[in-house]
Amino acid sequence: MTVEVRQHQRTPLWRNAAVLKWGAQILVLIAVIVVFVTLAQTASSNFTASNVSFGWDWLSDPTGVQIREGIDTSPDSGVRALTVGMMNTLRVAISGIIVATILGTIIGIARLSSNWIVNRIAVVYIETIRNIPLLVQIFFWSALAIGLPELTADDVGEYWFKASNKGFAFAWIFPDGGFWPWLIFVVVGIAVGRWVSKRRMRYQEETGNPGHGGRYAFAVVVLFAVVGWFAWPIFGWLEPVFDWVSDLIRDLPAVIVPIVVAIAAIAGAALWIRNFFESRRTPAGFGKMTDDDWFRVIFVGFSGIVVALLAFVVSGFEIRTISGEQLTVAELILDGIANFFGWLAGSFSTENYNTVVEGQRSGGPLVFEKAAVILRGTAEIPQYGETGMVLTVPFFAIWTGVTLYTAAFIAEIVRGGILAVPKGQTEAAQAVGLKRSQYLRQIILPQAFRIILPPLGNQYLNLFKNTSLGLAVAYADIVAVGTTIINQTGQSLPVVSVWMAFFLTGSLIISAIVNYFNRRMQLVER
């Protein structure tokens, strides 16, 4: 039987689904661009009218900003000051994320415990911490630390741990002159250890004798670490190599930077498009591309070309450096890469091999330092010395605040994730005779982790952004340092845009990492 089609009429343009879809995509794109351009123009004309001029000179201008803690307490320029603030923010965020994850997991599991006391402790912790505003908690920790006894002249000496109203100081292990070459030994040791462990396992499978793979691997790693401890200067030849690379890069013509970026952008776009086409290929042949698909392909290709062109434009911009030179962006980038290799060369230097230089650290791979209280300056004020790890009161307050706060939420997420694994999984694991610790690790946690991961990523983002509350206790994070710069220079918009760029970049990196693991954890289904 054949079906009669009533009439073959040309579809008018305004009823054609394909045309409408394309129109919508392009209209949205244009609208977004128009809104941004309008906003930028309005802002710029308003600023001109009110006689405010914005620029980026403050980045390289000498600055009077004094920073209470960080890699450089009296930075020579705006960009250096912001870098110190940025490092301080990252210090809180990264260590906070690690500790909050561990603490949150423990408390989350504790809340599921059938042990009444453990269970109640977890409940009280979670309910207290998550129901008090974070800012209040940060003030609390600050007040608590400031309430500790003052340092006096009697306290002068070395300590494993010391608490005072200047913060907490304790003994710590730091990387030292030979750290990077030693790390090569350790990494090679781990690789060899894995290989040995696999060999031992095969031996066990073949002969049935115990292989002790773990013990052998551990012994190998220790052996490499110990040998490396003394032998690290054999990598000294890397110093001139990296120096040579550094000089080579410094001598390159600056135009190479935009060329490399442009090639990378276009190659990246081409690769994406190729993979996209590949993903539409089925055993039956090339799949039908939807309008949406074509839009994506064109958009990516267009973006690649725009980025390539922008690379040439932007790399020509001139920037005044701290020393007063006018350098183009391309030259600055080239300089940065050369400096990196210079630093790499320096870290393989054997100059201070096992010699103790007065006032500096000894030239080994790692150095153990106790904390110290010393008298500083002509006024002989008792203070923590340079040695050991010192946590200032603001750091302690913001770090403890965001970490404990986030841990409470992570605990609930972990609890929910574990409860979301069907009960049958536990029963099946028990039925085959697995111990509790075994099935938690092999069956329950891997499945719970899959559920936990997306909300966990949200908590990481929250923690990262909440570090900006450090401003309230005068912690020298990027926001506090930026505020000082705004007060000194009046350049609010540029500084705020640096903040925004920093937090946006950091958050996107966290998201990317979490998404990567999320994809890897996906269950395989048909």
Binding site: Q425, A428, Q430, V432, G433, K435, Q447, L523
Partner: protein, 269 residues
Amino acid sequence: MDNEFSDQSAPDTDAAAGGQAASRTLGDPIVVTEDVKKWFGDFQALKGVTATVREREVVVVIGPSGSGKSTYIRCINRLEAHQEGTIIVDGIELTNDIKNIEKIRSEVGMVFQQFNLFPHLTVMDNITLAPQWVRKQPKDEAENYAMELLERVGIPEQADKYPGQLSGGQQQRVAIARSLAMKPKIMLFDEPTSALDPEMIKEVLDVMKELALGGMTMMVVTHEMGFAREVADRVMFFDYGTIVEEGTPEHFFTNPQHDRTKLFLSQIL
């Protein structure tokens, strides 16, 4: 009667036999339960169950839903803890001693209605996990035996797939292989075919029949009366937390004594 599988020809004088089970020799008692009682809150699920299962015996447990039949076999490997009475499995009494519970669980295999395969592990890893962690078998040995089992249940080609990629019948057969990998002395089946399409029920029942013929001690909660009639040595009928009637399939299906049993059979047959 189908005599195709009757390769074990030792006569059975001890237990009254039904179906083809006549060809199996029953051994010593392996599961002994005495006056087992179990409450869920106010509700008493088991009201004193006394029964003995002997080596190589196949016991089918039937009964209406909520009668306590699942609870009973779940008590035997301590997925539910009984509150009164004694359960002795392979000479070990089930108490709060964790060591005993783990020992018994590694000797008793269990197959669930909902398969409960580990979805994040391949079929092969599902099967070899427990032998490696509990029996401390080397990986090679565990995998070789797993392949053997997969061939026995008829799906060796699925070894590297994930449970989500298999059909229900295939999943249940993997679950049986997973239990068998621990070389259990007893297999418990908790409604193994209730979640399956009719077409897949047969493939699972066939595997279970093979097992029974191989001399495995089995306790099976099921509604498959055909299976009970064909394979069981003994049928237990549960209602309101007690064994109302038990006997050979022949006795049970042709000459039930108890009114409740008659009513139940008239509704399902």
